[in-house]
């Protein structure tokens, strides 16, 4: 499918790509009308290689048990597998194992953080935990590029604490602007929450500059890495943020699991957002003492099989190399942007060059609503996402309510890009916008 054209430097070879695609059974699927699936919706959820399902099935069939409880052999093996998964995933993300708190996903991670900060604001925060207690008149800074899951929870925290919410705007290409950082990040700013890569524009945020401005006023930084960790080499320690949130299902892993990464000195002193079993030491009828992190933040029975599947997914990514995956996706993105540039009536809602962006490419098609465009593309087996992609404010910034988004993954090919553009070029004709 990829032809014999030489692969871009550092990317995946044609032979590798064939082998990779064979690892993802669903990519061989034929859809209604006999069309072969062209999956261009990885930003919503990535397809999973067989090794992920195999690891989860192996766990279910041979080791399934509750973790961190029980003395029997299965319980011990399950606990070891769970903690081993934590270590592997943390290493892949550039964090220490005790800096990785399992959550239900990115949304779960941000809400856990908000719950922890809400608990701190409850008035009883003492000593180091005061760092997490926001007061009326304090400020939370977000950006216009946020997914609703890194926006609405902060609106809630602001409402609960009396803090005010301010935001950084995006530029014409949907990139978080850092030129008005000095205005937005005031001395009363306690927290800056921002996306690493937009799920709409694909633009990658200048993390270092935002972190510097936040640190200058002692504000905590929270990075939404849902769209970056799956596509770029990701190093939590090197990025210098205090917290980061990721979802396994966007990086070849299963649903229902993700993580909150937190710098260990912060997790040490942060109050738990959720309480209950597994996260406590001593419980009396009137009070409880809590375990050290990350356990303190993992109330209840954890997603054990999912953690094991996720570890297999990061193993798959690491074996290929994130730098090579990124190079492959960048070459495909360049090819896509190039061809889109020649298409009349199609506007890219994001940077039009492949540098500094991911392969999430949202489009505004003149005269055709995204739902209609998506329906047309679907009829040819092309799976794209239509709508606001849970990011209404950035769409408003682009002057639209919704868009048609193609998003790439490591398994996509140049031939698929060409096919997408070929079908896309017929959309306006079908809907009678051009004759």
């Amino acid at each position: 499918m990829t032809g014999s054209s030489p692969q871009p430097e550092g990317g995946l070879t044609a032979a590798e790509l064939v082998a990779i695609r064979a690892d993802f059974p669903v990519l061989g699927r034929r859809l209604a009308g006999g069309h072969r699936l062209v999956y261009l919706d990885t930003a919503a959820t990535a397809q999973r290689p067989r090794v992920v399902e195999d690891a989860m099935r192996d766990f279910a069939e041979n080791r399934n048990a509750g973790v961190h409880r029980g003395a029997h052999q299965l319980a011990a093996e399950a606990t070891e597998a769970y903690e081993d998964a934590r270590t592997k995933i943390a290493a892949f993300l550039g964090a220490a194992p005790w800096e990785l708190v399992f959550t239900s996903g990115t949304t779960g991670a941000i809400n856990l953080l908000v719950a922890s900060l809400t608990a701190a604001a409850g008035g009883r925060a003492e000593g180091a935990a005061r760092r997490f207690a926001l007061l009326p008149g304090d400020r939370i800074v977000v950006t216009q590029a946020e997914h609703h899951s890194n926006l609405v929870p902060w609106q809630r925290l602001a409402a609960v604490t009396g803090a005010q919410l301010a935001y950084l705007r995006v530029d014409a290409e949907g990139r978080v602007r850092t030129d008005d950082l000095a205005d937005a990040v005031t001395p009363r700013t306690r927290l800056v929450a921002f996306t690493h890569a937009s799920n709409v524009s694909g633009a990658i945020t200048d993390v270092a500059t935002v972190v510097r401005a936040a640190q200058a006023v002692g504000a905590l930084t929270v990075l939404d890495a849902a769209q970056s960790a799956p596509h770029l080499p990701f190093d939590f320690g090197a990025l210098g943020v205090d917290f980061a949130a990721v979802s396994a299902h966007k990086m070849l892993g299963p649903n229902g699991i993700g993580a909150l990464l937190g710098r260990s000195e912060l997790l040490e002193v942060m109050p738990p957002g959720f309480t209950g079993g597994s996260m406590v030491e001593i419980v009396t009828m009137s009070e409880a003492t809590f375990q050290p992190p990350p356990t303190r933040f993992e109330a209840g029975t954890g997603p054990v099989a999912q953690a094991i599947g996720w570890a297999a997914a990061v193993g798959y990514l690491a074996a290929l190399g994130m730098d090579r995956i990124a190079a492959h996706e960048r070459a495909l993105t360049a090819r896509l942007l190039d061809q889109l540039g020649a298409l009349a009536g199609v506007r890219v809602l994001g940077p039009t060059a492949a540098r500094g962006r991911t392969g999430a490419v949202a489009l505004d098609i003149a005269g055709v609503h995204p739902h209609d465009a998506g329906q047309f593309l679907d009829d040819f087996g092309l799976a794209v996402r239509v709508g606001h992609h849970c990011a209404q404010p950035i769409h408003r910034a682009f002057g639209v309510t919704a868009s048609t988004r193609a998003s790439l993954g490591l398994y996509n090919t140049a031939a698929e890009i060409d096919r997408f553009v070929e079908v896309l070029s017929q959309v306006r004709g079908y809907f009678g916008v051009v004759r």
């Binding site: 009308g33 609503h369 739902h371 209609d372 329906q375 047309f376 239509v386 606001h388 408003r396 309510t401």
Partner: protein
């Protein structure tokens, strides 16, 4: 007919290009603002009732429907066809048609009752849409707004619909 053409029938495309009843008018007896949560498409719809019911005419009549909104071909055409279908009818008949249209949208392409066939007229063109659960919301957006605006009007609530800040 291809599955695509079964959705985008000529009648639907005509209404999408030339929507009926589009453009808000004043005064009104009830107003509704509805959003399709998946795409953020919006419709604002106003109804005007004629005189309250009396002994001769046990039900009020829907004398006017006016709406405005942004949306896909399906949502725009559906609001348009709905407007033509219901304007001037007694309110209880409008409520019946709403229920029948809901039945059509739940049919998933299966044959529908004679009541639906007989009553819905041009709105039957949306039978093809019922096979795409993701698009049903588009087709019912206008109907939802109509139902809401009517119930407000019948309750004597002519206040403007609430619209979120910053939209």
């Amino acid at each position: 007919m291809s599955s695509l053409d079964s959705i985008y029938q000529e009648l639907i495309m005509d209404h999408a290009r030339h929507p009926q009843g589009k453009g808000l008018t004043e005064p009104f007896d009830g107003e509704s603002f509805q959003v399709n949560p998946t795409c953020g498409d919006q419709v604002r719809l106003r109804v005007v009732l004629d005189a309250p019911p009396d002994a001769d005419r046990p039900s009020s009549r829907l004398s006017q429907v006016a709406w405005d909104g942004k949306g896909c071909a399906i949502s725009q055409a559906s609001a348009s066809i709905m407007t033509e279908l219901v304007a001037g009818l007694p309110v209880d008949r409008v409520e019946q048609l709403d229920a029948l249209f809901s039945e059509l949208m739940r049919s998933r392409g299966a044959p529908v009752s004679a009541a639906v066939e007989d009553a819905l007229g041009d709105a039957l063109a949306f039978a093809g849409v019922s096979r795409y659960p993701m698009r049903v919301k588009c087709a019912i957006l206008g109907w939802m707004a109509l139902k809401d605006a009517l119930s407000k009007a019948l309750a004597g609530d002519a206040s403007p619909a609430r619209v979120p800040e910053g939209i």
